[in-house]
């Protein structure tokens, strides 16, 4: 029930915005979003509210860290 979906901001005024979630347009409230956003940013949408900015750089960093996390062991395993 408290699912969050990444939505791309495609329209925005003060407290309201429209996001694209997998091709579906949804109106969301921005009143709970703590971060500054601009059109094109991704936000996590839950129950009609944007609750967090989603950070693609962080996603990339996590993936890189995961690779290291898994690979490190590969090397150690061969010792």
């Amino acid at each position: 029930m408290c699912l969050g979906f990444p939505g791309k901001l495609i329209e925005m005024d003060d407290f309201k915005a429209v996001v694209d979630i997998d091709g579906t347009r949804r109106e969301v409230s921005l009143m709970m979003l703590p971060d500054e956003v601009v059109l094109g940013d991704y936000v996590m949408v839950h129950a009609g509210f944007a609750i967090a900015k989603m950070d693609p750089d962080e996603a990339q960093k996590t993936l890189e860290a995961l690779r290291e996390f898994a690979d490190l062991l590969d090397e150690e395993g061969q010792l």
Binding site: C2, M32, P34, A47, M54, A59, L63, F69, A70
Partner: protein
């Protein structure tokens, strides 16, 4: 898309699984609980339970608000719903939850009750304006959802809307985790912490977990998120060093969403409340502060708390504690199915029973 597909990379998943197998100490068992139903769903859907080494047990916990709503709250909702002067506004998850006499919002609606399903609590305002009737939003959820109910209450109050009410049935996660940890029969070594709850709360609420030498990793809902978290937990236990980790940094900030936290504090206070199958848990419920009495559905309709009575024969209590696998409930697929649920854990798509029914039968 970046946030989803990359986190399903098969090759990397296999590497993580290999690392887990190599590092997991075969002389012991690791028991990790998914607090959140969406984690349970993901674990079931991607078949992770069967891919992990046998001595790593992933058990599902109380992670769905629909599942943990006690019978008296459900019955109170039905009582309000059957009044002629009322429109009920709810998320779709609630619509099929069975009451103690077999009723559900769906059935009440078929009998003429005015029940509307919405995506956003704020839609309640529009509906109230259209109908002019007393319009009651069913506020069920954890810290992810509770701020959205608080936002509705605050907006209604600011607009001076006289016919919008909220049933304050939201619950908080750290308190129930405490109860589960304190129960020695459950033997929980660590928690996969709920990603979306953590978006709001941040990481500090899990410090109590690591202080008790249990691991706590906040993570997302894709296979790589879950596998890397399991690996991290195994490593923490092997080293005997425990630290709350954030593996969902693409959405969760360490401090959480301060705006949402402030909104919660402004509108609600923490009160003792009842959980299905788990009993009364101190300070785990959210009730309206005095300034918000005018939107409180409990005050408006004179609802009394009647205490816990659970459905006969339904093993949700044991399922929610990770004590019993859903498939071990005598009613599982035997009088209780997603098409015809007996207990709430089979209703909600994130309920453990429904996840097992769909993917692990």
């Amino acid at each position: 898309m970046k946030f989803v597909k990359d986190f399903r990379d098969r090759e990397l998943a296999e590497k993580l699984l290999a690392a887990i197998s190599r590092e997991a100490d075969t002389s012991r068992v690791y028991r990790f609980m998914e607090v959140c139903g969406s984690h349970t769903m993901a674990v079931s859907r991607f078949g992770l339970r069967s891919l992990l080494p046998k001595n790593i047990e992933l058990v599902s916990g109380p992670g769905c608000p629909v599942c943990v709503t006690p019978q008296w709250e459900i019955d109170a909702i039905f009582e309000i719903a059957s009044r002629e002067d009322v429109t009920i506004v709810t998320f779709g998850d609630m619509i099929r939850v069975p009451g103690s006499r077999g009723e559900s919002l769906q059935k009440l609606r078929a009998d003429g009750a005015d029940i509307r399903i919405v995506f956003s609590p704020l839609d309640t305002l529009k509906i109230a304006e259209e109908t002019g009737k007393n319009t009651v939003f069913i506020g069920i959820g954890f810290e992810t959802t509770a701020p959205t109910a608080a936002a509705l209450a605050k907006t209604a109050k600011e607009l001076g809307t006289a016919n919008v009410f909220v049933a304050p049935f939201c619950k908080t996660v750290p308190e129930v985790m405490d109860v589960l940890l304190a129960d020695e029969t459950l033997e929980i070594d660590g928690f996969l912490c709920p990603g979306h709850v953590s978006v709001v709360t941040g990481l500090d609420i899990y410090k109590a977990v690591t202080a008790q030498k249990r691991s706590a990793v906040v993570t997302g809902f894709e296979p790589l998120d879950i596998l890397s978290s399991v690996l991290e937990m195994v490593r923490q236990h092997n080293k005997g060093e425990y630290e709350v980790k954030n593996f969902y940094t693409r959405a969760v900030k360490n401090e959480g969403n301060l705006k949402a936290q402030a909104l919660l504090k402004e509108v609600f206070y923490q009160a003792d409340t009842d959980w299905r199958g788990l009993g009364r848990i101190p300070k785990s419920g959210l009730r309206f502060r005095d300034e918000y009495q005018s939107v409180d559905a409990l005050a408006k309709f004179g609802i009394q708390e009647t205490g816990v009575t659970d459905l006969k024969g339904c093993k949700c209590g044991d399922v929610l504690k990770g004590k019993m696998k859903p498939s071990a409930c005598p009613m599982f697929d035997n009088g209780c199915t997603p098409q015809n649920p007996y207990g709430p854990c089979m209703v909600s798509s994130e309920g453990s029973c429904s996840a097992y029914y769909k993917y692990e039968r």
